[in-house]
């Protein structure tokens, strides 16, 4: 239950934070690593604009909701991604030797600006994971051979990658994975299970963390593999969530055969790769907070509407509840702005400060959802199965109820509140660390000792 980066879906390649590193003068042609001439930014922008106008579909305003993840929608997304790649507008900042354009982030930003209002490839949550997390991690750690095989196919929409990371028995304790890859002849045999992989049901590959050595401490015996979801022995099942949706999957690996070429990074050095992946996944942390941040205008408009519909808008207690939620909303927004500024001032602390952005959602989302339930009252518990026109009901009360069911998502997914509090306590406040019972001994023994846990 770790996937919390779905905001990125729909971007051919994510726009990276230009503030993180100083840029060259925007319009000075520079050189790429391979001595090819780099276009001036003005010129690039103009060319991009022409191409976009000629090739992309204009979106109606306001922009429609994103397409689903049904086979047709994904096929259309892949086709559009391919056209983008063929035109040289995919992987703008990625290395040329793997099919990218090798340009600076200002070119990427220019393209994104010009493309605003046009339909870009929509590849759902797996698209976000592929471009924003998996490919970035591969580029940092995989062999040239691996990258030559996969990155061009990613850029052209042929390969969507998801993470096979969390396990039924390893959630918060990410390094505690038990899926095992055993050396067999020239390759490996994979057994085990992964869970909470978002969008795996329509992806092509999973980036899978497996234990390859059980006789060393838990962080040291791990290795990443690229696993085709269609390989013999791989079963993908969608997980039905409590809301009835099924965006996440669980996978089962039953003697899946992999080759040495499928290894990403060094054997038994998977935790180093994982650290990189987590950094990309967190994206500096701030994206987490934004998903629940409401527009800054007005006093909690959603709750006001709900109260009006429930006929409680004149009740002083209800009004106070609504304003309380508004005050929290305002403080949350202010916090995110403050964190952004602090991160720019102190990049070394950025990842730890990001825990505040995560924790604030984990703490306040449930409070706000409970407020909505109180404001909605019985209307947030029962609603008409069909509305007056015989259409399925889409009442505000039902929305509050679904929000209630979903309200602990940020408290749990992608690092629980407890993990964030540990991180803030130890890394920001400098409090002494929790004693470890698993980092110093062979993982095999960790499991044995944990089962026989007793404190004296």
């Amino acid at each position: 239950m770790r996937d919390i980066a779905p905001e990125r879906d729909g971007n051919a390649a994510p726009e990276r934070d230009g503030n993180a590193a100083p840029e060259r003068g925007d319009n000075v042609p520079a050189e790429r690593g391979d001595d090819t001439a780099v276009p001036a930014l003005d010129e690039y922008r103009a060319r991009a604009r022409s191409w976009i106008e000629a090739n992309l579909e204009r979106l109606p305003a306001p922009a429609p909701r994103r397409g689903g993840t049904g086979p047709a929608a994904i096929a259309a997304g892949r086709a559009l991604q391919r056209r983008l790649h063929e035109a040289g507008y995919a992987g703008i900042t990625w290395p040329r030797e793997y099919g990218g354009q090798g340009l600076g982030p200002q070119y990427e930003r220019a393209f994104q600006q010009e493309a605003r209002g046009y339909r870009l490839p929509e590849l759902g949550i797996a698209g976000g994971t592929t471009f924003g997390v998996c490919a970035m991690t591969m580029l940092a750690h995989a062999s040239a051979d691996f990258l030559r095989r996969h990155i061009p196919r990613i850029l052209s929409g042929e390969e969507l990658f998801v993470q096979f990371f969390s396990e039924p028995e390893a959630g918060s304790d990410l390094a505690g994975v038990r899926t095992r890859a055993v050396r067999a002849g020239e390759g490996w045999v994979l057994n085990g299970s992964k869970i909470w992989s978002s969008g795996a049901y329509y992806a092509d590959w999973g980036m899978c963390l497996a234990r390859t050595d059980w006789d060393v401490p838990k962080h040291r015996g791990l290795t990443w593999f690229a696993v085709p979801v269609t390989a013999p022995g791989v079963t993908v099942e969608r997980i039905r969530q409590i809301t009835g949706d099924a965006e996440f999957c669980q996978e089962f690996f039953d003697d899946v055969v992999l080759g040495d070429g499928d290894v990403i990074g060094q054997v038994n050095d998977g935790w180093t790769v994982a650290q990189t992946m987590l950094m990309f996944e967190r994206g500096g942390g701030l994206s987490h907070g934004t998903r629940t941040t409401r527009a800054s205008t007005g006093v909690a408009p959603d709750l006001v509407e709900l109260a009006r519909a429930a006929g409680r808008l004149a009740d002083p207690l209800t009004r106070d509840l609504i304003v309380r939620a508004h005050v929290d909303d305002v403080a949350r927004r202010a916090l995110l702005a403050r964190l952004g500024a602090r991160m720019r001032t102190d990049p070394a602390q950025a990842l730890h400060l990001a825990s505040y952005a995560k924790l604030v959602s984990g703490v306040y989302d449930p409070v706000r959802a409970d407020t909505a339930m109180r404001v909605g009252g019985a209307d947030a518990v029962n609603w008409d199965a069909v509305n007056g026109d015989g259409e399925p009901g889409e009442s505000l009360g039902r929305k509050a109820a679904v929000g209630f069911l979903n309200s602990r998502f940020m408290s749990i997914a992608g690092g629980t509140n407890e993990m964030q509090r540990n991180s803030i306590g130890e890394r920001v406040l400098g409090l002494p660390r929790e004693p470890s019972f698993d980092s110093g001994k062979p993982f095999r023994e960790v499991l044995r000792d944990a089962r026989g846990w007793s404190s004296d």
Binding site: M1, Q241, D370, V381, A385, D438
Partner: protein, 384 residues
């Protein structure tokens, strides 16, 4: 294992609770509750009749009507049974059925046959309240006018009626010409329309009831309209609040028990997660609020159940309001805490936690939200 709503049960109460718990486990364990929720039908007749034979619908009714209490305090017995029901999220009318049975018993032999069927689990009854006394804001109301022939015409639309679609007997609290008036109406009376509503709590089947110029005779009136009915109405709300809170307490008990068990066995970082203070202390706090919830609900049932109806029941009503107000908020809080312990697995449909979470949120507003019950207690405070 019993929920233990009562700190010390009499042997007779223990027998009642054990047989109820065994009946539930045998007949309607959680997998069966899920099946029922997934389908479109209500609870079947055999379940109800068996429940009736255990005494579930007769605890607020004298033996002359086929009812009876094992402890001398029927509401206390009923609350203890309600807690066992809540622990396994039992479907079907129980709270409203008992309120209706209690009310019909007060009519003496007049509705004896109907009452006997209800007590035996062969009739299904609910209570159509709406927003009378502001109990459920926005739920609508039924208005009763005289029809000039000694009878009444009922009209209105009331939402959020528990088990509406499955009941054949309705007691309706209506605004009448002489003040609050309650009527006994069968669901097949011409002009009565019942439609099911979708609920966050998928284990229940609430609905909306529409009365379109429904004609009933004077004999449909229960008790004396006006002040007497208002007093009785208040007592009914207290009874319903206590029984609903008792069902919630059962749900809290089971959800917390599962979370404790999970914390005992789930391993992370080389330890059972229950050995971490973050988890242990959360569960201890939830356990405290559960103990308080059991205590205040049992106290309310004991007091309200022993007070004479309509008079001297002030302490009982105060306790009932307090119990419902406490449990409504702590129940949801407990569900949140358990969810945090379950982590990801709590997000899956297969895991039972969400059923408890849904139930506790629904119970929180059934028969008066915490705010409404506090408001009633607030009326005890002078303004001078």
């Amino acid at each position: 294992m019993s929920v233990g709503l009562l700190a010390s049960a009499t042997p007779e109460q223990e027998l009642l609770l054990d047989s109820s718990a065994r009946f539930i486990e045998r007949t309607m364990p959680l997998p069966s509750v899920r099946e029922l929720a997934a389908g479109s039908g209500g609870v079947d007749a055999r379940y109800l009749e068996a429940a009736g034979s255990l005494g579930w619908f007769g605890m607020l009714v004298g033996e002359e009507h086929g009812g009876g209490t094992v402890s001398g305090n029927g509401l206390l017995d009923a609350a203890a049974v309600a807690a066992e029901r809540g622990a396994v999220l039992q479907p079907g009318s129980f709270v409203a059925a008992n309120v209706v049975a209690h009310l019909l018993a007060a009519e003496g032999p007049r509705h004896g046959g109907t009452l006997a069927r209800l007590v035996a689990g062969r009739a299904r009854a609910t209570w159509v309240v709406g927003d009378v006394a502001g109990l459920t804001p926005g739920a609508g109301a039924i208005v009763a006018g005289e029809d000039g022939a000694g009878g009444f015409r009922l009209a209105g639309d009331v939402r959020h009626v528990p088990d509406a679609a499955d009941c054949d007997l309705l007691v309706v609290a209506a605004r009448g010409p002489r003040g609050l008036t309650q009527f006994l109406v069968t669901a097949d009376t011409p002009g009565v329309q019942v439609r099911r509503m979708t609920s966050l709590d998928i284990t229940r089947r609430p609905g909306a009831v529409r009365f379109h110029d429904v004609r009933v005779g004077a004999d449909a009136v229960l008790g004396a309209p006006g002040d007497a009915t208002a007093a009785r109405f208040e007592h009914q709300v207290g009874t319903a609040a206590v029984l609903t809170a008792a069902e919630s307490v059962g749900a809290m008990h089971r959800d917390l028990g599962a979370a404790v068990e999970y914390a005992r066995t789930r391993i992370a970082f080389g330890r059972p997660i229950g050995s971490f203070q973050a988890v242990k202390h959360l569960l201890a706090d939830l356990s405290l609020s559960l103990e308080m919830a059991k205590a205040v609900v049992a106290a309310a049932a004991e007091s309200l159940g022993s007070g004479a109806l309509g008079s001297g029941a002030r302490d009982g009503m105060d306790l009932a309001h307090a119990a419902k107000a406490f449990v409504a908020e702590q129940g949801v809080e407990l569900a949140h805490g358990c969810f945090q312990v379950f982590g990801g697995v709590g997000y899956t449909w297969e895991h039972d936690h969400h059923l408890f979470m849904r139930r506790l949120a629904a119970d929180a507003v059934a028969f008066g939200s915490a705010q409404w019950h506090r408001g009633r207690l607030g009326e005890r405070i002078g303004v001078g």
